[in-house]
């Protein structure tokens, strides 16, 4: 039983890290632009397929493909903002939300047109898990967790030490006051898309390493990603990270008592409970 718990917690942390990386972008974008980005899952998918371009046709190692895919997705996110959302800056949140839903469909269809609907893997070689007593640890999981932690630390330094990072937190707190203060809000918005896109790509690649690439990859985890952002208090990047890990572990550990097919239901339950009892999130966001 204890072994199962430890094993599931490890899986939960890996999955939770993926939710966390996705949720940070959702949370910051919501805080700054006031809408839930339904295309965030498909930005994760895009990142995962961009990495495939680098490791597949270009035959580059993953440590090169990973940052390249992050940069590519960040650029794509900025381009999307310029082409679509910048025109809707004064539109109501509902219009933005529906537009992001449309964007999600466009991205997913483009990915399916380019790469096809079938499942793809980055590598076909089989890696044996390490054994620590009865606990099995897959080497990719260790790398993924380490990179997730590194990204979270880098994000923390960016948000607390750089001018633009502080401006981003300020704008997520209160966009109107940020404008009054003289913060160049359009620049902050661009940086937020780039950051959200890069972290979404990281989440997408990890998810694809853990499972398989397919056009529905990111869309399938959008619900827990939203739940994590909500749990952490929307507009609070640190809350979103905590929410992601919490949800990941809760989902895996729930399989001790629940049939694994109900795992997504845990995210739903969390959303409902948070909205009913703590609508500002566990850490007092908006």
């Amino acid at each position: 039983m204890l072994v199962d718990l430890v094993q599931l917690t490890i899986f939960g942390l890996v999955v939770g890290g993926i939710f966390a990386l996705g949720a940070v972008g959702v949370s910051l974008l919501f805080g700054i632009l006031r809408f839930a980005n339904f295309a965030h899952g498909d930005m994760m998918t895009l990142g995962a397929y961009l990495a495939l371009v680098f490791v597949g046709p270009l035959a580059l190692p993953m440590w090169v493909a990973f940052p390249a895919a992050l940069a590519g997705t960040a650029l794509a996110a900025v381009a999307i903002d310029r082409a679509l959302f910048k025109r809707l800056r004064r539109a109501s949140p509902v219009i933005l939300l529906i537009s992001s839903f449309g964007l999600a469909l466009i991205l997913r269809s483009l990915i399916q047109i380019i790469w096809g609907p079938e499942n793809i893997v980055y590598w076909t070689d089989i890696v044996l898990p390490w054994r620590l007593g009865e606990i099995r640890i897959r080497p990719p999981h260790v790398v993924m967790l380490a990179v997730t932690v590194a990204l979270v630390v880098a994000l923390h330094l960016f948000l607390t030490r750089t001018r633009i990072g502080k401006a981003m937190r300020a704008m997520a707190d209160d966009p109107d006051l940020a404008r009054i203060t003289g913060i160049p809000t359009e620049r902050v918005i661009l940086w937020t898309w780039a950051l959200g896109g890069a972290l979404a790509a990281a989440a997408g690649i990890f998810l694809a390493v853990d499972t398989r690439l397919n056009p529905l990859l990111g869309w399938n985890v959008l619900l827990p990603v939203f739940a994590a952002a909500l749990l952490g208090g929307i507009g609070k990047p640190y809350g979103a990270i905590a929410g992601g890990f919490l949800l990941g572990v809760a989902g895996e550990v729930s399989t001790l008592v629940l049939d694994p097919v109900y795992k997504p239901a845990v995210a739903f339950a969390v959303i409902v409970l948070v909205l009913v009892y703590r609508p500002t999130g566990l850490f007092g966001g908006r």
């Binding site: 937190r169 707190d173 209160d174 109107d176 006051l177 404008r179 009054i180 203060t181 003289g182 913060i183």
Partner: protein, 235 residues
């Protein structure tokens, strides 16, 4: 003395509905000007119009002779204009230090001197530099809000009801600090509900009614005006 800020026959409001129906207002260098009036008189809206947050449909606003009508806040701040809104005037999840630093965002140079000056003005903030502003009292938040606005060394500070919801003691302190800021040469344009106290030290005051000028005079003269006193100052 030349006028620092001038509003001439300003009309404007939200989404086609005018709230300001021709407002004239001037602030000269180093002056404290107080705006009073009943609810819905357009006092806060006038402030927002100056700061480019409400569309001005007619008339013009000049700052140091330059036309700033409908100019975006990020262009106004570098000109020497700062604004402290009535509510939501701090970044609650950020620390005191970060709130103040962000006030200096438009300046590319180091703002250490300004930071030291603000902390000297509000010594309570010194020991709380690393505290999140959201956890502080109303009076302390107001200090952070005013401090944030001072970080650009403005020539004119717009304050929208700086003592709203504060205890009498905190109100006293904020008014006293506002005068200290003014002594350093910063002109102040202030909307205030605690009108009696504010008028006592105002150089000049405007009474607005229905989005238009009703009366203007020196602060003490407005305070002594029987009709105004009865209407807005509770007799």
């Amino acid at each position: 003395m030349t006028a620092l800020l001038e509003m001439r026959a300003v009309r404007g409001g939200y989404g086609g509905v005018d709230i300001l129906n021709g407002i004239d207002l001037a602030v000269r260098e180093r002056e404290i000007v107080v705006v009073i009036g009943p609810n819905g008189a357009g006092k806060s809206t006038a402030m927002k119009a100056i700061f480019g947050l409400v569309a001005v449909r007619e008339g013009e606003i000049r700052f140091k002779g330059q036309d700033i009508t409908n100019m975006a806040p990020e262009r106004l701040v570098p000109l020497g204009l700062s604004y402290v809104p009535q509510e939501r005037n701090v970044f609650p999840s950020l620390t005191v230090q970060e709130n103040l630093e962000l006030g200096a965002y438009v300046r590319r140079d180091d703002a250490a001197a300004e930071l030291a000056e603000v902390l000297a003005l509000f010594p309570v903030l010194e020991e709380r530099r690393q505290q999140a502003v959201g956890t502080m009292s109303g009076g302390e938040r107001q200090m952070v809000a005013i401090g944030r606005a001072l970080m650009t060394r403005p020539e004119l500070l717009l304050l929208d009801e700086p003592t709203a919801g504060l205890s009498p003691r905190a109100t006293e302190l904020i008014f006293e600090r506002i005068r200290a800021i003014n002594q350093k040469g910063v002109a102040i344009l202030m909307v205030e509900q605690n009108a009696k106290q504010a008028l006592a030290f105002a150089d000049r005051a405007y009474v607005l009614v229905g989005g238009a000028n009703r009366y203007e005079d020196s602060g003490p003269a407005v305070l002594a005006h029987p009709e105004i006193a009865e209407m807005f100052l509770g007799g």
